[in-house]
Symmetry: none
Subunit: 94 residues, 4 copies
DNA sequence: GTGGTCTAGACCACT
DNA sequence: GTGGTCTAGACCACA
């Protein structure tokens, strides 16, 4: 189930491609700590279902995060949140 | 199809360039709220068809609106109505 | 469906491990030409179904063939019949 | 029209993904000089037609070449053969 | 279940 | 005509 509300609305036909919007939502959740480092994101199909898009679109969103290093993809295992660059030393409240 | 009538007639061969006239019509529609902020304008081809002009003419009209900030253009995505500058401070009922 | 009959019967509880027996059957089919070089073997699930064994058993049988070079495994793609060692030096005419 | 023959056959269901095979064929043509630096490759749809695959598959092949730097893609213009690193000084027959 | 690949369509902006 | 995006299905190996 999703704990997410209107914050995560996806706009079709807008200036930002759907897959980029989804990548942004996922990125925000990761930074917010919803998904912890080394833990898997929901699978492509689940993301597609949640956002109401085709799997290929959800897949492209995950690829955006993988290309920027936010997550890493392990074939047949899932997409995992990368470890933060400098975990804990600054900026996170420690 | 268009919901617009004689109001939007374009005069060819007059003192005002056709693309400026079209820009004026589009600007009026936006201010009237026909097209909402963050939503796309019709594509160049559609505008060209509606006004009976060449694509380059429709393109120039959109550029006028972009230059004045009424719309913003996202390459490969289209032209989108800008958000109003400060919709709350004056004129909107606040 | 399988074109194979009693020839390929597997004996459980005998002196020869089931996966070795299955490897032998598969090896025979390859040598017989049932499966051509560079073509994929049936997937693990299909082999498991055909021989009435667990997926891990089918997997081990394929591994036997891979270890001896009869087939080669490409991750995420399957197991493929290897090209014959030196088909040209003798018997192929070149 | 294609001047290409059996050399460029694509195998479906083989150990190598179709889009990787196509990328290999295109790479070979570029190295062979069929397509000169700064000239465009055929469009995605043409490649798809030539190889008998979906456009998305041809697209992935081009992306492979773009990722490795063999070509560069200009949106709405095409994919262009990159300039060689050191054209002519070594390695090409010296 | 996962991600990887592939098909066969579609609409779009832009050139 | 180009590439960019998107849909809605599919089969597969692998765990």
């Amino acid at each position: 189930m999703s704990d997410y509300g209107p914050d995560d609305e996806i706009v079709h036909g807008g200036p930002v491609p759907v897959y980029v919007q989804i990548a942004g939502v996922l990125r925000a959740r990761i930074k917010r700590g919803d998904w912890q480092p080394m833990r898997p994101l929901p699978g492509e199909q689940r993301l597609a279902d949640e956002f109401g898009v085709a799997r290929m679109t959800a897949r492209k969103a995950v690829r955006v995060l993988a290309d920027e290093g936010t997550v890493f993809v392990v074939p047949q295992r899932g997409a995992f949140v990368s470890a933060p660059d400098q975990p804990g030393s600054a900026g996170d409240g420690a």
